[in-house]
Symmetry: C2
Subunit: 282 residues, 2 copies
């Protein structure tokens, strides 16, 4: 997905948020904002929003010396989500359609987002996920593909959300490779975060070798690129993976909650809605 | 009120909104966004947010050739608000404390804001205004001052909101001078907008001679500056007047609905709350 004009204010907002969560003083935060203005002024054509976000967060890390400002946020999110694990498993095992329920729960987990955002209630979102219609519903094409696939590549998103993904993976019959970011970026899950969520018990964990809050293939390790290219079916969680892979031809299904109106317009789905969208076919 | 870092993303957002409502093509909107980045990069110290907004909207007018892009929005807002006039008058005349009720209704009218924002229901806000506690409540000091004042200077804000102000003015015993912006800026009321709301039937209308969405005294006409300086009591509506006059010593009371979290933090009141705040005393 391209970067729209409407993304510009949001990039600035992210700089301010990252600066503050990194404990930057107001003059340092101000300097980071001015640098972000310069960055936006000279943006190369064709960057996706997560690639710009990567540059912003690298700048904030460099100026504040804080290598992983969201570490505590991530640990807390995982801890909180683990408390839900027995409930989530019951919801799946008691469901008429365990797979569809597990997919919906995995999307619900996508509400866990960066920074202190006390304005959502995780259990409310779980309840909503079970109830609402999917705004884009390619669940049946995904189910069909899974019927014959021998293995699954699962692209994770945020820490904490990983617990919800674990529940979905538990319903899948095939071996699953769960790919995470190559280093800390915002609240995205790394190997340590996926382990803390117990995903290593149900899937093989791999790093994608890249520190972008999405999946930009050219920035990923050769090993991950090979794995992506050869994958029979790919499940991609969250907005960042959609923004960076929406124009890539692959056997991919995006599972996400639409949290941003720009992505909503791009998808043709309202902000707040739940989406299972098949990607561009080869 | 100073311009906080958090205002920067909002300035960019305003550029995009103003460009679109002016019918700018995407390349023109993009150019305006880039110019806004330059403007923010070189911001002189000490500007209030409405002063920056003024520069942004002047830029949009210049590039698009659209002198008053919010004209239709303003006319519609006034028309819609006039439909409420009989109801508002009944609420006041049937109230135990007609003055307090009229003040609350006048604040409720402040929800009418620029651009297409279908997300509020005016009547809901009216109901809320009658019910909720004021987050800052200097109503009694205002009432006391009004008891002995011979005249009132009323600083208007948005078109449509003017109708709600008219109802408040109808409860006041003293002659009222109702000041509006010196030219079209966003959806702020001008002389024509105040007349369309019938404010000319209950107050003398004056222009402040300035085209800023607030009241920057140094930018106002000498006649208005004199009037402001000599005023016995000043009622100032809305965020723009608060942002530009919060540090001016004057017998002023700010009536507003907090629509922005930055102003909320500055005031110490939550976003969404209703405020009657006495200004800095001389």
């Amino acid at each position: 997905m391209k970067t729209y004009l409407d993304c510009y204010p949001c990039v600035l907002r992210q700089t301010i948020e990252a600066a503050r969560i990194s404990g930057a003083s107001e003059p340092v935060a101000r300097d980071l904002v001015l640098k972000t203005l310069d960055l936006l002024r000279q943006l190369p054509e064709g960057l996706t929003p997560p690639q710009i976000g990567t540059q912003v967060h690298a700048m904030v890390r460099e100026e504040t010396g804080h290598a992983d400002p969201y570490q505590v946020v991530k640990q807390q999110a995982t801890k909180k989500a683990l408390l839900f694990l027995p409930k989530l498993r019951s919801l799946v095992s008691e469901a008429e359609d365990p797979f569809a329920t597990a997919v919906r729960l995995s999307i619900a987990g996508n509400i866990i987002d960066y920074g202190p955002n006390p304005s959502y209630d995780l259990w409310d979102v779980v309840q909503q996920a079970l109830r609402v219609d999917l705004a884009i519903n390619d669940l049946e094409s995904l189910r069909e593909r899974l019927n014959t696939a021998n293995s699954i590549l699962f692209l994770g998103d945020n820490a904490g959300e990983t617990v919800f993904d674990r529940v979905l993976i538990e319903t899948l019959k095939q071996p699953v490779v769960y790919a995470v970011r190559g280093g800390p970026i915002i609240n995205d899950a790394t190997l340590a975060d996926a382990k803390a969520a117990g995903v290593d018990g149900v899937a093989s964990l791999v790093s994608n070798g890249s520190r972008i809050p999405g999946t930009v293939l050219s920035d990923c390790s050769p090993a991950f690129q090979k794995r992506f290219k050869e994958a029979e079916v790919i499940l991609a969680k969250g907005q960042g993976n959609y923004e960076t892979l929406s124009e890539v031809q692959a056997p991919i299904w995006f599972l996400l909650k639409v949290k941003c109106p720009v992505i909503g317009r791009n998808l043709g789905a309202a902000a707040g809605s739940f989406v299972v969208k098949q990607g561009l076919r080869a």
